[in-house]
């Protein structure tokens, strides 16, 4: 019984406090402290994440089972562990300032690798545009026309045809209306879910709804 009641009580007190503190300036010092607590809990989650990454990849690198075989992708796990260790050591030993090993590794490896991965999207996008963007229905045709107008609206040549105005109209009206509706829906959904969690109706975060 205590296993669920105490977490429910903590959740109720914390949730109610964060809801009312906005309206009561006297709660400000406590509000600051709660924010500090949240950051401390968050820091633990980073430690947990790091431990999980190390554990998962170490398992893959180790020879396991009766046949003492490694995971088929063990070499990638070894790379991940090596990268993690080198960056940690570089950061702790030399610091992170200009010209340090840490910053040079970041600039020379991580930055171009991530940028390259993202740049591949342009190739897939062009291929997908050719294969999938078809006028199969009225809805798809409207979507296609809107996409083309907004795309041309980003180009300087479109100005002669008045397309940037049309593109802005699409962004400022249909797009805005849909976005607002989604935002309002999400906001109301979040508020109602938060209320259900605070008052103890929604208990799935405890792992089980049974006492």
């Amino acid at each position: 019984m205590m296993k669920t009641r105490i977490p429910l009580l903590i959740c109720f007190v914390a949730g109610t406090f964060m809801a009312v503190q906005y309206f009561i300036p006297a709660f400000l010092p406590y509000y600051d402290r709660v924010n500090d607590y949240i950051q401390i809990v968050y820091a633990f989650s980073i430690v947990l994440g790091l431990a999980s990454v190390i554990q998962r990849h170490t398992h893959r690198v180790q020879r396991r089972g009766p046949e003492k075989r490694r995971h088929k992708d063990w070499i990638y796990s070894l790379c991940a562990l090596a990268g993690l260790t080198v960056m940690l050591l570089a950061g702790f030993i030399e610091g992170r300032g200009e010209g340090t090993l840490f910053q040079n590794l970041f600039n020379a490896i991580l930055l171009p690798v991530q940028a390259t991965m993202f740049a591949l999207l342009a190739f897939y996008l062009a291929s997908a545009a050719f294969r999938a963007f078809r006028t199969r229905s009225v809805d798809a045709t409207v979507l296609l026309l809107a996409a083309v107008v907004v795309m041309i609206g980003r180009l300087d040549d479109g100005a002669t045809l008045g397309i940037p105005k049309l593109s802005r109209w699409i962004l400022d009206n249909p797009n805005l209306v849909a976005k607002r509706a989604i935002l309002l829906g999400v906001g109301l959904g979040m508020a109602s879910t938060a209320l259900k969690v605070v008052v103890g109706i929604e208990r799935s975060y405890l792992g089980s709804s049974k006492e």
């Binding site: 930055l111 940028a115 291929s127 795309m151």
Partner: protein, 280 residues
């Protein structure tokens, strides 16, 4: 070759041909300086420019938040560079932070900010400071609303923030005239929702083009006062501050690829519709 075979071939165009065309379309404009680009400054960029330009020199700093990772660097780093040139030329102080959830934005800031500051002879910790990265952006933003020094006790380089001259007169958002968030994720939205509404902070967004549509409602409602959208936004800002730069080549590539994608969509649909008509 009859039309039916041609249509079949078009519909089954090898993706390697498409990839090659995209590659050529991206690379060639960098060498040929073609096609020509004409930049007109949009209302959103003009609004952002005016707000930054109105910050008094050697006074309270612009808060510049690197809320993106290297994947978005091609679009957002040019904005950071343009904004820094603008500020340093006008002797506007800059306070740099990073709240991007993986912390990689801090690495980009550590590379970009000292380089641009050195070009203008601006002094670290006096004219600009880099406070580093804080995880959990939402809570960090709220903490900064009460006390920035408590949120960032030491800067990125390990210097206690209390000993940084730029930070002497800064307590919280009351001493920050505006924040420019360079964002590719919901962190940009958080700036409008939390510090913007709770503390009345003026929020400007430097955003990836794909994210602009998400943020547009916040601009129309006045919660975000100015937007630099994608590479085009960066080029417009450069144009506005009178420093057209390397973005022009990026814009040329982007223009070619946009036309190429439109051409692919048109070709794909023509082939599809003709094939459907023949089947009927």
């Amino acid at each position: 070759m009859d039309i039916a075979t041609l249509l079949q071939k078009m519909l089954k165009l090898d993706r390697r041909i498409i990839y090659t065309l995209v590659f050529v379309g991206v690379v060639l404009p960098f060498y040929l300086a073609w096609p020509p680009i004409r930049i007109e400054v949009s209302r959103e960029v003009e609004d952002a420019f005016r707000i930054i330009d109105a910050i008094p020199p050697n006074s309270t700093p612009l808060l510049l938040s690197f809320d993106y990772d290297p994947a978005s660097a091609a679009e957002l780093t040019p904005m950071a560079v343009a904004a820094l040139h603008h500020c340093f030329e006008r002797e506007i102080r800059v306070l740099v932070i990073s709240l991007q959830y993986t912390g990689l934005g801090a690495g980009i800031a550590a590379d970009v900010v000292p380089r641009i500051a050195a070009e203008h002879g601006r002094v670290k910790n006096v004219d600009w400071a880099f406070l580093g990265f804080q995880p959990n952006a939402m809570v960090a933003m709220l903490q900064m609303g009460e006390d920035i020094k408590r949120t960032f006790p030491v800067d990125y380089y390990g210097t206690p923030v209390d000993s940084i001259p730029l930070m002497e007169s800064i307590q919280n958002y009351d001493q920050i005239p505006a924040v420019l968030t360079l964002a590719s994720t919901a962190v940009g939205e958080f700036w409008a929702i939390y510090p913007g509404s709770r503390y009345g902070l003026t929020v400007l967004g430097g955003l990836t083009a794909v994210y602009v549509a998400d943020i547009q409602p916040f601009y129309q409602s006045g919660q975000i006062k100015g937007i630099l959208g994608g590479l085009k936004g960066a080029a417009e800002y450069e144009q506005r501050i009178g420093r057209p730069g390397d973005d022009m080549n990026g814009m040329r590539s982007q223009k070619v690829i946009h036309y190429l994608i439109i051409l692919f969509i048109a070709l794909g649909n023509v082939a599809y519709l003709l094939a459907r008509r023949r089947q009927a």
